[in-house]
Symmetry: C2
Amino acid sequence: LAKTGEFEFLARLLPRLASGRGVVVGPGDDCAVVAVGRQRWLITTDALVEGTHFRPRWFTPQQLGRKAYLVNASDIAAMGGRPRYVLAALAVPARYPDRDLMRLNIGIAKAAAETGACVIGGNLTRADRLSVTITLVGEMRGTPVLRRGAQPGDALFVSGELGSAAYGRRLLSRRVTARGHEVRRFREPVPRLEAAALLAQHRLASAMIDVSDGLLQDLGHLCAASGVGARVEVEQLPCRPSIRAAGHALALSGGEDYELLCAVPMHRLARMRKLQHRFGCQMTRIGAVMPKSYGVRAVDALGTVYSGPTGFDHFHASTAARRHRRTPRSS
Amino acid sequence: LAKTGEFEFLARLLPRLASGRGVVVGPGDDCAVVAVGRQRWLITTDALVEGTHFRPRWFTPQQLGRKAYLVNASDIAAMGGRPRYVLAALAVPARYPDRDLMRLNIGIAKAAAETGACVIGGNLTRADRLSVTITLVGEMRGTPVLRRGAQPGDALFVSGELGSAAYGRRLLSRRVTARGHEVRRFREPVPRLEAAALLAQHRLASAMIDVSDGLLQDLGHLCAASGVGARVEVEQLPCRPSIRAAGHALALSGGEDYELLCAVPMHRLARMRKLQHRFGCQMTRIGAVMPKSYGVRAVDALGTVYSGPTGFDHFHASTAARRHRRTPRSS
């Protein structure tokens, strides 16, 4: 099951799942949304699997628990919610030391506590390889921001920075014993909860998603859900100089960023500027929402560095990487 | 991590988890309970892992999805709730056919629909071995029935039947190509949702748990949480003749039953008899709650077949099996 397979598979599966009473948003967005009385609750689940998402030596047990929690918190942030309740389903090899298992759990619990959530349950089972599956329930004040809702003409913003985490992963996989910024970015994503909550409460964002699989891929999801296209100005991407020097692929499709990507209508930009000091992170304007016919393009001063049609089945990482070729700028 | 390690580990971990706003019941019961306005919601998670819980040839993909859902529904039943929302986190080997993955998902979705629930989200990742982690959110009308609350003098009841599922698993692991009742019981647990909801709504049960790890082990959990002991009359256990003939170990500690075990105060027995026709399953009186000093004992006409102190660290399956020795009946 490659990334391409995953999204194509989901496209076939999701229409077959019946909706139910109280379901405001079903499968296919960053979180599900259910109505409980007049409240809206968000629920999401995500797993870190040894061999797929990490090698044991990449993380201490506490770091691993922490990251497993934070990637879920990022999904709650992507809709503008606040984390509340955590369930941790752990699958653990027989040889895994009890002390490490305790530290892993404490990593989850501490990260949860720091973001206002607590562990309410879980499951513990034996398995050949370590995996941590977190389910996170979030609280929503106001209306959740979905992937759909972006309109041509909206500005595109991304939080924090892109590319460093993917570079950190590359360093770790090459057995570089680095402890720098990039490795820290990979090990410890920073869910943009404050910024997201403000974007939602003040209705600044018309659509939002978290960037976990790479900017272009997740932008593709947002565009597909909204029925629009998008243009990304590569020079505007918030990257460290070292990442920029390594080429645009890390920022465009490296993945592991766990930043917010959102569309903001032009008439909300002034309000957004006023609130920016409360976001707790930089929000960088990186492009614009375009009509669907435009597709999704990334451009720099010399031309188009990426061009593809809108739609998630075309935005899996492997294809995106292959399409990183320079073509004449068409607009 | 053996079963013993699991429960001992949890005993050390759980006190370290801080509780949070709205948490009515935290980790350590069949489900967590959270308050949402005046409503109570139940949340639980449980996983089926290839190599630990099943071999691939034991289940069709649809059967596997179905069972993964049903074991979670059994946890919701154990508190008297109704399943509502399902999240399915799947970890799938690269070679796993898309068609099977679709069937697995449909197995989950169909079983959910049959019990009034629907799939609202999930996650899909690659892994070396197949695993299905379900998170289930349930709705509670009335007060959830916890593991704690049993009083000496209460009668002990168990739903349905014991031992067949464990025997079915044994048949499958011995490569017997059986399709009989026992294998069906292993493949497809029957969460006792109707009975459980009635037991909760009419406040018949003072304490309840689902029997998943074997009667004695789960009775041990209930007793430890309630601070009581218990006596089980082995001859009263609801077993098929073939299971009874194979000895009492299957019924006492075979596991995989997914039946309700509950304590019912004597003054509620008349009311329980009146409602029995609505339970949708047999509820069999199998013994009595005793003072804590009594410990937990299983007795037959000839004497005590099992005796141990109250407390979950003494009720893991391996120890229970070793303790299945006949000793003179002490009461």
